[in-house]
């Protein structure tokens, strides 16, 4: 017998060991279950399997509209993407409720296109209400939602203010004829830099961003594939409206090379702003609205929009299948297409407004914002904008796979 007593396991340890054993037992059990073919029950049909032909609207996509009886609209939006007053309220939403008597259940639970899609997909796939009447998706996600038949056609009869839609946005590749979506805010993709961290140097091109030794290890790019690769594609003289698979692979190789050379610090979502302001990131791919807001506190930050072309993204209202308050959602969209209301939003969020006439309203109210070229870009800047073309399902999978191999490789 040993001179030392074996340490008695605490109840804590025992519980953990048991936990592990239970897992193992569960796994053994699993093998048995698999043999019975239970796993086969877990397949999912997909959209095209049932819907004949192209991804047309699912036959029963509309729910009974409770809009008249139930004066409510459920709206999911990105965080900090609407006007806020000193009390933390949203004056434009209050204005809508006052004008129409419709209450708005406003949720800032749209943090990321992919995450939000993962959240609502099982419901839409099963033909269930998502509890939301409208939300704001980025252009390429709108294309996917349309492709899968997850969103409903908008009734223009309920949106008379549509006449105020910026003419250049009326027909877009991801939603030809604007049948399913209307833009909420627009933004450009450019290069932001902090002169403190670049040694006073300007960053004027993608080429410099990816190769300048002064920036080595202090560059971030976006996890949004189309924004990051789009910048490189334009630098290589391609047009985003007709990108081929080879173009994409070639552009991605440039990003991979920069990553391998240690030029890149990382790929980020919204969280690039703080390191940029502090100087931990010297230069990065950045969205216009963020840069305008960052500059309020850090006026020294620089921003470069591409000479050859500027990737443009839009975030768009859509109405999902089985929404219970479709009419109210359309009334809400209509309300925001009033230039006065949109001016109020633009004044706060600093992105580009899709509503013509918002600038004229804002000139009266806040001339400084109205004269900001990043919020109300000139015609010659607008002429340079490019939008990534809609991808087929196969292309989307293939591009995403290649891109994620670089990001998480």
């Amino acid at each position: 017998m040993s001179d030392r007593q074996p340490p008695e396991p605490s109840p804590f340890t025992t519980a953990i060991v048991r936990g592990a054993l239970t897992r193992r037992t569960a796994l053994t059990g699993l093998a048995g279950l698999a043999a019975t073919g239970l796993l086969a029950a877990c397949g999912s049909p997909g959209r095209n399997a049932s819907a004949s032909g192209s991804a047309s609207q699912a036959p029963k996509a509309a729910a009974t509209d409770l809009s008249e009886a139930d004066k409510l609209v459920n709206w999911s939006n990105w965080p900090e993407y609407i006007d806020v007053d000193a009390k933390g309220k949203h004056p434009s939403i209050d204005g809508f409720t006052k004008a129409t008597g419709i209450k708005v259940n406003y949720n800032e639970d749209y943090n990321d296109n992919d995450e939000f899609f993962a959240k609502v997909r099982p419901l839409l796939d099963a033909g269930q209400d998502t509890g939301r009447d409208t939300w704001v998706s980025t252009d390429w996600m709108v294309a996917r939602l349309i492709r899968l038949g997850y969103v409903q056609k908008l009734d223009y009869g309920n949106i008379p203010n549509l006449t105020n839609l910026e003419p250049s946005l009326k027909d877009v590749p991801f939603d030809p004829g604007r049948v399913y979506s209307l833009p909420w805010q627009i933004g450009f993709v450019g290069i932001a830099y902090n002169p403190k961290a670049t040694g006073g140097r300007k960053v004027t091109s993608v080429d410099q961003l990816l190769h300048d030794p002064a920036l080595k290890g202090k560059v971030t790019m976006l996890t949004e594939m189309r924004d990051t690769v789009g910048l490189v594609l334009i630098e290589q003289g391609k047009n985003l409206a007709n990108v081929t698979a080879d173009d994409f692979t070639a552009a991605l190789a440039v990003v991979q090379a920069a990553k391998d050379a240690g030029q890149l610090k990382g790929f980020t979502g919204n969280e690039y702003t703080k390191p940029l302001a502090s100087g931990d990131t010297a230069a990065c791919v950045a969205w216009t609205g963020d840069v305008v807001q960052l500059r309020a506190d850090n006026p020294q930050l620089g921003y470069t929009l591409g000479e050859k072309g500027i990737p443009m993204f839009s975030d768009n209202f859509v109405i999902p299948n089985f929404a219970k308050h479709k009419l109210n959602a359309e009334k809400l969209i209509n309300y925001y297409y009033d230039p006065k209301v949109m001016a109020e939003v633009t004044d706060y969020v600093n992105y580009i407004s899709p509503v013509a006439g918002a600038k004229d309203e804002l000139v009266k109210k806040d001339p400084q914002v109205a004269s900001n070229e990043l919020i109300f870009p000139s015609q010659e800047v607008l002429a340079k904008t490019q939008t990534f073309r809609a991808l087929t399902a196969e292309e989307e999978t293939s591009f995403n796979r290649q891109f994620q191999a670089v990001v998480t490789g």
Binding site: R23, A34, K265
Partner: protein, 306 residues
């Protein structure tokens, strides 16, 4: 167990009623936990296993094709990230042990009336969101901050660089930062089990060790450490398991070369929508952790670790 005892004692009494009650009560008490396990563990695990063996895409649906090749593919493509996750998690576990052990001892035996305050302080970071806590480390390790300044002034940045833990004279965006973040985020999981064990340790044993001419080190290694082993085992498991699957620290504090397996699963599941490979990766991670933990617990249980 209750039923057995009762039946043995009251052999004369009518057997059926107490036995039935004894049989039902544990079942009723267990039911909520069992139901919980079935709904939130067994069912998802089965669906995950099924998902990993399916082929297809979201447009055309997924069908079960028993595609076991996906596991080989997953390992072939992502073994570096797997290995990295295990190494980071192990380093972080060691880090929490080295930091947590003295802390737990101090709280248990040297803190006097401050004991409760210190315990609350250990748990206090949990009052803040995990993401916020990790983002705070971006500020702590920032290039112009005092920590980096100190490391540069003392030449520690050069040491870290020589060890391959950082790539340049910054601290942020490196393996070092990721491991620091993991250590910080999981430290309470190490300290609390250690504290529970050490607090119950009879300090008279130390006097006895002294009487038997044991020096400080011998007292620790022959008396305190073996007695605290259950706490060490729980603490290391509670730290290692979540750390191996973590993806926030490496995303916020690391660089493009510090990607952990959690990030890969996140990317495959959410961005690429390749559910089978994401499911296969999750399964491999689960299996790897179970194997490691089972081996570790067995070794610890037979005193071979001592």
């Amino acid at each position: 167990m209750a039923a057995l005892t009762q039946a043995a004692v009251g052999a004369e009494a009518p057997v059926s009623r107490p036995r039935r009650r004894g049989g039902l009560v544990p079942l009723v008490l267990l039911a909520p936990a069992l139901l919980w396990l079935v709904v939130f563990f067994v069912v998802p695990t089965i669906s995950l296993a099924s998902q990993s063996l399916q082929t297809g895409d979201i447009d055309n649906g997924f069908t079960l094709t028993w595609n076991f090749a996906v596991y080989a593919e997953a390992m072939a493509r992502y073994w570096p990230q797997f290995l990295r996750s295990m190494v980071y998690a192990a380093s972080a576990t060691l880090g929490t042990l080295v930091l947590g052990y003295p802390l737990a001892w101090f709280i248990a035996h040297r803190s006097g009336r401050w004991k409760n305050v210190l315990l609350v302080l250990v748990v206090a970071p949990f009052f803040t969101n995990f993401l916020i806590r990790t983002l705070a480390w971006q500020i702590i390790l920032t290039d112009n901050g005092p920590v980096t300044g100190f490391f540069r002034a003392t030449g520690l940045t050069a040491v870290l660089q020589a060890m391959g833990l950082t790539d340049n004279d910054s601290l942020l965006g490196s393996q070092f930062a990721v491991i620091c973040g993991l250590v910080y985020n999981f430290l309470p999981f190490m300290v609390l089990p250690l504290y529970t064990i050490l607090e119950r340790l009879d300090v008279r044993l130390l006097d006895a060790a002294g009487d038997l001419y044991a020096n400080g080190w011998q007292t620790f290694w022959r008396v305190i450490w073996p007695l605290s082993l259950p706490g060490v085992v729980s603490g290391t498991l509670l730290t290692f398991i979540p750390a191996a699957g973590d993806y926030i620290n490496s995303r916020l504090l690391g660089n493009t070369q510090t990607v952990m397996i959690g990030q890969v699963i996140d990317a495959q599941f959410l961005r690429v929508l390749d559910y089978p490979i994401a499911a296969a990766l999750s399964f491999i991670l689960m299996a790897a952790i179970i194997v490691l933990v089972a081996g570790y617990v067995r070794a610890a249980g037979t005193e071979e670790l001592v």
